[in-house]
């Protein structure tokens, strides 16, 4: 323990995506999240840090886990929260995003957590409202808090991500989780491999980050020497058309099985959830001790507390 700081603080006023975030900023969030993680183990799992701050959860797209995780994080910080779901609201009556946002702004809101099917919707919101905006997933663009919690979870096993080999498996094309993780992992110095069917890896993606990415279409190549295997959910509902022959064939080619875990005795398995058991991961892999999926969920609340806490100061003093 020293008097040194945990990184130099955040340069951003909003969390729209990790594309522009530095390693220092990501580590600042991690450091704060570790302290909030400790709060979650106390008898009273609440701190008064955001008392009097009002947060609106603006979910234009169905979400249970992320919304519940944000809501819990807000409550643990003693913020006042308002939930706004698209279905059954004025949105279904034809109101535009801008009008919705300005109406909410008129109700004196400090922070907005937004999920929207259109990439860039959170960015657009920052131009309509004064509140701090946190992206909870925008189309196939970014899902920054997921990547922050994924990288935090990795640091529990590998404190330094420099040179760590991380393979991201599956539906890269439609995955905002993959994009945010690629930015975060690259910023932290990890070596990234992408693996999936040709139809689910967009061309040119290896130019996403300066160091480049390794791309393979064979699972055994992706898992060779791999420290962390990050499986992505096959988004059957988002896909709309057949990009691989069948779920069973996908599992045979790209699913992680018990045999893979035995072959790679130090490899961690992660998944952003919800898992399609028997598709991305075999059922006994999901329950394996090296599958850290539930730890990701717990860290999710802590990371969201850290993001809300660190950004709230900006909004109040800006």
């Amino acid at each position: 323990m020293t008097l040194e700081g945990n990184g130099s603080g955040l340069q951003h006023r909003h969390l729209l995506g990790l594309e522009t975030w530095s390693a220092d900023e990501i580590k600042t969030v991690h450091a704060a999240a570790r302290q909030f993680r400790e709060v979650l183990d106390r008898p009273i799992r609440q701190v008064p840090s955001l008392r009097g701050v009002t947060v609106v959860n603006l979910f234009f797209e169905a979400s249970t886990r992320t919304r519940v995780s944000f809501e819990l994080a807000e409550k643990r910080l003693s913020a006042d929260t308002v939930n706004f779901a698209a279905s059954g609201s004025s949105v279904s009556k034809g109101e535009t995003l801008k009008d919705t946002a300005q109406n909410i702004e008129a109700m004196k809101i400090d922070m907005v957590v937004v999920r929207h099917r259109s990439p860039g919707a959170p960015q657009f919101l920052t131009r309509c409202v004064d509140a701090t905006v946190i992206n909870a997933g925008d189309g196939a663009h970014e899902h920054p808090t997921q990547a922050l919690l994924d990288t935090l979870t990795i640091t529990e096993y590998h404190p330094d991500l420099t040179g760590l080999r991380v393979s991201i498996l599956g539906d890269i094309m439609f995955s905002r989780v993959a994009r945010s993780n690629i930015y975060a992992l690259a910023a932290l110095g990890a070596e990234i491999t992408l693996c999936g069917p040709r139809t689910l890896i967009p061309p040119g993606i290896n130019e996403m980050v300066p160091g480049g990415l390794r791309i393979t279409h064979r699972l055994d190549e992706a898992l060779e020497g791999c420290d962390v295997a990050m499986a992505l959910r096959i988004q059957l509902e988002r896909q709309g058309r057949q990009l691989f022959p069948s779920v069973r064939e996908y599992h045979n080619q790209f699913g992680i099985t018990r045999a893979h875990l035995d072959q790679h005795p130090d490899m961690l398995v992660m998944h952003p959830g919800p898992v399609n058991r028997g598709v991305e991961l075999a059922s006994d892999v999901v329950d394996h001790e090296r599958a850290v999926i539930l730890s990701q969920v717990t860290n999710g609340v802590a990371v969201r507390m850290a993001v809300l806490y660190l950004l709230s100061g900006r909004s109040l003093t800006a």
Partner: protein, 194 residues
């Protein structure tokens, strides 16, 4: 010292500080009830950041002088501060680690300087959320006055009435390369600490 500090006086040198900590260790042990175990009924909690080093020194002295093991924890009250809406820079949250049950223990909360009392207020709230101590005593090296809340130190090294614009700097070898306490003038220092 901090930038822009002009030293007005040295209040304590290394030997003074050592003697003071010896006395504080004795005063803490006096609270031990006859027949009770220090390990089970007392606890030191150091406040981030210099309070942690001070609590650790007191813990070592109690061990050396009395042969008693008093458990020690670390507390950071940043999440409980009330100047949230006033803060100008991003707060830094540091570690809180209390590796024992506070319930029914006599807790000695240790910090370097007692000033407005706001940090102590935040620390008390944090402690109450972690457990229910039998009693909490506040231990400070320097009480510099200018309180803004009805809070006092139970065991205090030295009372040093100060004026606005003055600061008290406690320096410890663990983080500053030397031991001692100084009174300085610093017109630019914000009065947020203590």
């Amino acid at each position: 010292m901090e930038p822009n500090d002009v030293v007005k006086a040295q209040l304590l040198d290394e030997r003074d500080l050592g003697r003071m900590l010896d006395r504080m260790a004795q005063q803490i042990v006096e609270f031990l009830e006859p027949g009770a175990s220090a390990t089970d009924s007392l606890a030191l909690v150091g406040m981030q950041s210099r309070g942690v080093f001070l609590a650790r020194r007191i813990q070592r002295r109690i061990k050396e002088m009395e042969g008693l093991d008093v458990p020690m924890g670390i507390l950071d009250a940043t999440m409980y501060r009330d100047d949230f809406r006033l803060r100008l820079k991003q707060p830094e949250i540091r570690e809180t680690r209390i590796p024992f049950d506070l319930t029914e223990r006599r807790v000695f909360l240790v910090d370097d300087v007692l000033y407005t009392g706001r940090t102590v207020r935040a620390a008390l709230d944090a402690l109450m959320d972690i457990g229910r101590p039998a009693a909490v005593h506040f231990v400070a090296i320097v009480d510099r006055g200018l309180r803004e809340l009805p809070i006092r130190a139970d065991i205090v090294g030295r009372q040093v009435p100060t004026l606005p614009g003055e600061e008290v700097r406690v320096r410890l070898k663990e983080c500053d390369d030397l031991d001692g306490v100084w009174l300085v003038a610093n017109p630019k220092a914000a009065g947020g600490r203590g």
